[in-house]
Amino acid sequence: MGLELYLDLMSQPCRAVYIFAKKNGIPFQLRTVELLKGQHYTDSFAQINPLRKVPALKDGDFTLAESVAILLYLSRKYKTPDHWYPQDLQARARVDEFLSWQHTALRSCCSRAMWQKMMFPVVMRQPVPQETLLSTLAELDSCLQLLEDKFLRDQDFLTGPQISVADLMAITELMHPVSAGCQIFESRPKLAAWRRRVEAVVGEDLFREAHAVVLKAKDTPPLDPAMKEKFQHLMRLLLQ
């Protein structure tokens, strides 16, 4: 069967895995799991990932969840160029540091910003209190400042002079609020320059391809009530 990647390009970590696999010429079967149709809640998908989330990987009998684990697995199995996850002790530690930090920092505010600004009002037809949205956007702003000050600093890429999996994770996260209309690069020239460098290395066609779905997310037709019901738990978390 070969390598199968269960992805929905609506999801930030899925985009990072997609770009990484494509950029490195890793052969895989794409298995699309449509999140907005609740396909991740099916029993058949639970066989692949009992955590009912994307991305997920299936390599023969071996299944794997968690985008960070998947990226590292792919980098090792397919012996991708060193810069993606450098051998150097300290350079690698910097990538690990970012990959760890992002779970509860960038991932959290980018998801909430996108959902509160766009997905809830437009797709779920659920209004979001203005204070909640403003508070989330303020958090996003602090997070972006941290991204610039602690990680990027005066480097070309987040963890050094070359692109790594950290940059892939970060850029795909930032495209989430971008798709909701947040002007995150316009007032941040340093971050905007970094974005251009990342896109150039990834390749503009691949970057565009990976982001086609999320950039059209605002045109998603409203969900029917039955589907909304399935998302209740998620909605509570995303409305914080």
Binding site: L51, F62, V68, A69, D96, E97, S100, W101, H103
Partner: protein
């Protein structure tokens, strides 16, 4: 100067690092950061970690944050036994998978359980509604089931027949609600058996030493009002 580890054993990730370093005979200077006195918010500590969090590592001029990154750095620099982070592609992926999942799952629930049950009322003098506490403990319960069903299953340790970083990170998390008086292991014989194996592998003296502080957490004196004021916004963000 040698390796310095900025820790406080009140913190779950600090305990994991402490145990790992001690168990593997890694020489280090312990720099205790008194969290309950707000020492992590000082300008002096900000020189070490501008994110104002523990754990932090300083190795000469190299400073590193994020417990997962620190553990992996120590694994590589000090060439510890293979089982902690196995070379085998799939076994290593399983450890990565756990270390990624835990940030927003077990870490989050264990932290909330401790703060809602003990730290808010005892340390901060703030009441927590019984509904909120009940909801938090219910979420913890769900996560413990995932820990048993997806990760532990019928294995001796979380990712295989031997202890790994995943077990250290998990056990130190679970001691948080244990310290708060939650019945984590009672009624869960599989998890209790796993705990005994982890303690035996770590060594009971080292395990006890690492957990002395958290096991006395209910006796924490109330916070100084100035410290409380400084800590509140960060605590609220931390347990979100």
């Amino acid at each position: 100067m040698g390796l310095e580890l900025y820790l406080h054993l009140l913190s779950q990730p600090c305990r994991a690092i402490y145990i790992f370093a001690k168990k593997n005979g890694i020489p280090f200077q312990q720099r205790t950061v008194e969290l309950l006195k707000g020492q992590h918010l000082s300008d002096a500590f900000a020189q070490v970690n501008p994110l104002k969090k523990v754990p932090a590592l300083k190795d000469g001029d190299f400073i590193l944050t994020e417990s997962v990154a620190i553990l992996l750095y120590l694994v590589r620099k000090y060439k510890v036994p293979d089982y902690w982070y196995p070379q085998d592609l799939q076994a290593r992926a399983r450890v990565d998978e756990y270390l990624a999942w835990q940030h927003t799952a077990l870490r989050r629930n264990c932290l909330r359980a401790l703060w809602h049950k003990v730290m808010f009322p005892v340390f901060l003098g703030e009441q927590v509604s019984s509904e909120l506490l009940a909801a938090t403990l219910a979420e913890l319960d769900v996560t413990l089931q995932v820990l048993e069903d997806k990760f532990l299953q019928n294995k001796a340790f979380l990712v295989g027949p031997q202890i790994s970083l995943a077990d250290l990170v998990a056990i130190t998390e679970l001691m948080h609600p244990v310290g708060a008086g939650c019945q984590v292991f009672e009624g869960r014989p599989k998890l209790a058996a796993w705990r005994r194996r982890v303690e035996a592998a770590v060594g009971e003296d080292l395990f006890r030493e690492a957990h002395e502080v958290i096991l006395k957490v209910k006796d924490t004196p109330p916070a100084d009002p100035t410290v409380k004021q400084k800590m509140m916004p960060r605590v609220l963000a931390m347990i979100q």
